[in-house]
């Protein structure tokens, strides 16, 4: 947009999502000369006319920008112009803040870059709005829902009006209302595109608070639990990735973490990502045999033609080999952890809670973990899990945990405990009634005979526990929610169905055996294990439904709880 050479100052958080949609080379074509990371202090020198800040609308970032602008040397020539680009939205609050700091006028342009839904994979979209859950359930700020609705409108503009909308939960209801309203208000939005999606299912995260708290046991889920996947990238400890060639300078191990991109474009990863970790090893060893057999071929290649064919396959084989090497290393790293005593103990307790054992008394393992000062988030995950699996803890049990946590980790965490209570994750049991067993039995959330190698049910993703959210999606497709009315009433928020009229020409005439396509939108976040479970349902031969997944944020128990914790350190400046 700016005709002169420009530099971009990035809010570091945004580089991830942006990296998924634009390469540096593309930006370069648009006269982007330099890129910096946003940090306090003086901006680095760069011989450019325009400086553009790409930022999320957050007050703490505004403070950094203010610092940057105020330290800018006014005497320099040529003078640099400042612009600010808010992602995903301009915020009047932030602009007011800048104004108070006296720098708002320094910005020539203030624009927004609406980035509602970012594609993460062929079947996965995320808004990457990390605080959506907190805003919706703690602060009753529904802005992220507004963006979700807007994103869905855009999606419909591209892929056709979705004829059926189902939903469960307050936020789901809001989003559906907003969509209907937006459609009414922009009559032009009626499009003539043949609908791709048959059904939209909106699900509130707080309908299923349990699932993210449990440790995910799929390959991808475990990578995320242990190393954290950010915008499809993961950083891994470098030791296992040491170059094999000892000769060249091989003095010491690399110290930089190894960064890998993980998505379905990689054939091997597509195959194993959604498997239970216990089934990954056999796939890897099978692959290894195939690849080494393929390399052996070269000894049999006799004629020039055969050799030529072999050579032409080499790049593909090389890629397959390095992919295999990477995933073998990752699997080794994960195995070190999953075979540890503590991982086992932790999992045992989780599974006890989820299958309804001893959820109403103080748990020894949790107490031990507190005594040994295990990370607070781990403790909170377990205690919340217990609370959710017991429809709230007995007051005495809750008080006991609270006291132990505060005495060991510091009294200031009382604020975090309060947040968890507000979000419904950690609460006293009211009315003395525990609904979880009924929900568990009706929805078959706990399966004793789980098959990890060749699964026949979604419960394989947690080695026994079938994620509630995905069960709801599954039961909606067949036989329909009417069969579980009673349980739906026990879960928070309303459930509903809406229909959007399609012009007659666009109504789908289904071929026999053709799958329906359902878009499942998780409001408040989704885990990789839930995604795996939905992909599993898509692939079931007699399933009849394919799923595409959208969410406000990809989460796991740790990142989720973290987003609810009170920031205890004051801002660094």
């Amino acid at each position: 947009r700016c005709p002169f050479p420009q530099a971009i100052v990035w809010d570091e958080y945004l580089t991830g999502p942006f990296g998924l949609i634009a390469q540096y080379s593309l930006l370069k074509e648009h006269e982007v000369e330099k890129m910096f990371t946003l940090k306090p202090g003086r901006l680095p020198p760069a011989d450019v006319k325009n400086i553009i800040f790409f930022v999320r609308p957050k007050l703490e970032l505004m403070d950094i920008i203010t610092d940057n602008v105020l330290r800018e040397d006014r005497g320099r020539s040529p003078q640099r112009d400042f612009h600010i680009l808010f992602v995903p939205r301009r915020s009047l609050l932030c602009e007011q803040w800048l104004k108070e700091q006296g720098v708002l006028g320094s910005f020539i342009h203030r624009e927004q870059y609406s980035l509602d839904l970012i594609p993460f994979d062929g079947d996965l979209l995320s808004m990457e709005s990390e605080s959506a859950f907190k805003e919706c359930y703690l602060e009753s700020d529904q802005t992220s829902l507004y963006h979700a609705a807007k994103g869905l409108m855009t999606l419909q503009a591209l892929y056709g009006t979705i004829p059926q909308i189902f939903g469960k939960g307050d936020c789901a209801r809001h989003v559906a209302n907003m969509m209907i309203r937006m459609k009414r208000e922009f009559p032009g939005s009626q499009n003539s595109i043949f609908p791709v999606f048959d059904t939209l299912l909106l699900l509130d995260r707080n309908v299923d608070l349990l699932t993210p708290l449990a440790t995910q046991l799929t390959y991808e889920g475990l990578i995320d639990e242990i190393y954290g996947i950010q915008n499809t990238y993961v950083k891994l400890p470098p030791e296992k990735f040491a170059p094999k060639k000892q000769g060249e300078g091989g003095k010491d191990l690399p110290t930089e973490p190894k960064k890998l991109q993980l998505n379905s474009a990689e054939e091997l990863y597509a195959e194993i990502r959604d498997k239970n970790f216990n089934a990954v090893g056999s796939v890897l060893s099978k692959k290894a045999k195939i690849i080494s057999a393929a390399f052996e071929e070269r000894h049999h290649a006799k004629t020039v033609g055969e050799i030529k064919q072999f050579v032409s396959q080499l790049p593909h084989m090389q890629a397959a080999r390095s992919s295999l090497a990477n995933h073998t290393s990752i699997a080794e790293l994960i195995k070190d952890i999953t075979t540890s005593e503590d991982f086992f103990d932790n999992l045992t307790v989780e599974q006890e809670f989820m299958s309804g054992i001893d959820t109403d008394k103080v748990n020894n393992y949790i107490e031990d973990c507190i005594a040994q000062k295990h990370p607070l988030i781990k403790i909170l995950r377990l205690v919340c899990l217990q609370s959710v699996c017991n429809s709230g803890l007995k007051q005495k049990v809750l008080d006991h945990y609270k006291r132990e946590i505060l005495q060991t980790y510091g009294y200031e965490h009382i604020l975090t405990l309060n947040n968890l209570e507000k979000a419904g994750l950690l609460k006293p049991q009211t009315g003395g009634r525990n609904n979880y067993p009924t929900i568990r039995k009706t929805l078959r959330l706990w399966m004793d005979d789980v098959n990890e190698q060749n699964p026949n049910d979604i419960s394989y993703v947690y080695s026994g526990y079938a994620p509630l959210s995905v069960r709801l999606a599954q039961l909606l497709a067949r036989p329909g929610w009417r069969s579980i009315e009673e349980v739906l009433k026990m879960l928070p928020g309303p459930h509903f169905e809406e229909r959007q009229q399609l012009p007659t020409g666009l109504q789908k005439k289904r071929q026999h055996g053709e799958n329906r396509v359902t878009l499942v939108f998780f409001l408040g976040g989704v885990t990789y294990a839930e995604i795996a479970a939905l992909r599993f349902l898509s692939q079931m031969e007699d399933g009849g439904t394919e799923y595409v997944i959208a969410t406000t944020k990809l989460i796991n128990g740790t990142t989720w709880i973290k987003s609810l914790m009170e920031k205890l350190e004051p801002a660094p400046f």
Partner: protein, 484 residues
């Protein structure tokens, strides 16, 4: 600074052309609306509900910048912190320089709704006292000027435009009723950005009690305001609001949260002391009380120990210099510290473990665990022994561990206790299997041998022979048992 400000003015003026569209406004309609607005503003004067501020912060004509500059002056005079030059002159000069466009941008006034100083009240006082109305007569704008400004959007349209990121004048919503309709529209749109913008406007133009009263029946808007106040750190306003709503527990927590921003420990302690009386839930009250007491203790201990360490008299501190100050550490950490450096002190001393245990009602289990870890770290095995020994009323001694002896063994082992010490506690592990496991793992041969002997397990005992050193006392012992 003034440069920046000039730039800023310039921006507003130039931005107008981008922000508003000219062609979609019907002339007659706008006239109608104009008259309606006049009626509204009449009503405005009658209605005492409206704040004085409202009458000055109108915008739309060049003179508007005077009312603007008045506010700037007011804030400048109440505080020199702001660092802004007195802006009357600046305001008027910029007005002179830019006579035409001066003020059609009205969101600008929206932005400056918030005065950072606690003297919010005095600002509005100053404004109303000075008879601002005289400075700001409502002049009729030139028609052409008027046209693009007065895009007289309905509340609904206004909200919709704002949702699309366009700037919109809110100033024309003058009556309380209009403002509330605007707010309700914003809430119905669910866009937090717009809701917040409207709230900033309302907060600036309505009297607190009215704002609070109206928000009480508008929960969504209320949540947004609370969030906004929290974000911008307007603690006092927030507390007033929560108090008005009778959300006493939230008031308490919100106030308590403030202590995190206080770096100075003495001040923090004073602040926490003030928090004790706040209306927390019964359970939380005792935690807050403990928090205060703990910091109070830590301050005493810290002063004392820093002195001791500096003087270099204490061997303990010389041998194990402190890694960090004890201030603001959790209770259990403090107990560990006390067991490490002040173990032998009498209960009367604030820094003694016994005193901490009593003051904070630390459960036995927690206490033993912590003390054990601290003494084991110092390799004070005698203390460990004493800690786990109880005397009954007949004077017999007995070993007892509220945490279970397997945990004792773990802790000792982590602190690399010698086998002689270790095996004494391994022997006391009740569960046979655990005992065997631990004994084998840590090479407490005696215990292994004795356990197999008691189990009369010849096979295992024979097998174990290869694990002990050849010709050692252990081997002899096995042999003699096997021979019996």
């Amino acid at each position: 600074m003034s440069r920046v400000r000039a730039d800023e003015e310039e921006y507003w003026h130039s931005s107008k052309f981008r922000a508003f569209t000219f062609d979609d406004e019907d002339d007659e309609l706008s006239q109608l609306k104009e008259s309606k607005r006049a009626v509204n503003s009449l009503w405005d004067i009658v209605d005492d509900d409206d704040d004085d501020l409202e009458r000055v912060s109108w915008s739309g004509e060049p003179v508007g910048s005077i009312s603007w500059s008045i506010k700037e002056t007011a804030s400048g005079s109440t505080s020199s912190l702001d660092g802004r030059d007195s802006s009357v002159q600046k305001g008027s000069s910029s007005y002179a320089a830019l006579p035409k466009q001066a003020s059609s941008y009205s969101l600008s006034s929206l932005f400056k709704g918030r005065n950072k100083l606690p003297s919010f009240q005095s600002l509005s006082d100053a404004l109303s006292d000075s008879g601002v109305k005289n400075y700001a007569p409502e002049l009729r704008r030139p028609r052409a000027e008027y046209k693009d400004y007065s895009s007289d959007w309905s509340p609904k349209d206004t909200v919709r435009r704002m949702q699309r990121g366009k700037v919109c004048s809110l100033e024309r919503f003058r009556s309380l009723q209009d403002k509330l309709v605007l707010l309700d529209e914003a809430v119905a749109g669910h866009d937090g950005n717009v809701i917040t913008a409207v709230l900033i406007f309302l907060k600036r133009t309505l009297r607190r009690e009215i704002l609070f009263r109206e928000l009480e029946v508008r929960q969504v808007a209320l949540c947004h305001l609370i969030h906004f106040l929290r974000e911008t750190g307007e603690q006092k306003f927030l507390l007033d609001l929560l108090r008005f709503l009778d959300r006493t527990e939230e008031v308490a927590l919100s106030q308590y949260r403030e202590h995190l921003n206080i770096q100075d420990v003495e001040k923090r302690r004073e602040f926490l002391k003030g928090c004790i009386g706040l209306p927390f839930s019964a359970e939380d009250t005792s935690h807050i009380q403990d928090h205060y007491t703990l910091l109070e203790r830590q301050i005493i201990i810290e002063a004392n120990d820093r002195h001791l360490e500096m003087a270099g008299q204490s061997e303990l501190f010389r041998k194990y210099p402190r890694k960090a100050s004890i201030l603001n550490m959790p209770l259990v950490t403090t107990l560990f510290y006390s067991c490490f450096y002040h173990y032998t002190e009498a209960e009367g001393m604030f820094s003694s473990p016994a005193n901490l245990k009593k003051t904070f009602k630390i459960p036995d289990k927690q206490y033993v665990l912590t003390a054990l870890a601290a003494r084991a770290k110092l390799r004070a095995w005698g203390d460990v022994d004493a800690l786990l020994t109880t005397k009954n009323w007949l004077g017999y001694t007995k070993k007892k561990a509220p945490i279970g002896f397997h945990r004792v063994v773990e802790i000792l082992q982590r602190n690399s206790a010698p086998v002689q010490v270790l095996q004494e506690y391994v022997r006391l592990v009740e569960d046979v299997e655990t005992r065997l496991n631990l004994a084998t793992k840590y090479k407490c041969h005696d215990v292994v041998i004795e356990t197999y002997r008691d189990l009369k397990d010849r096979i295992q005992l024979t097998a174990y022979k290869c694990k002990v050193e050849r010709g050692s006392a252990d081997e002899e012992k096995i042999n003699s048992i096997l021979n019996n």
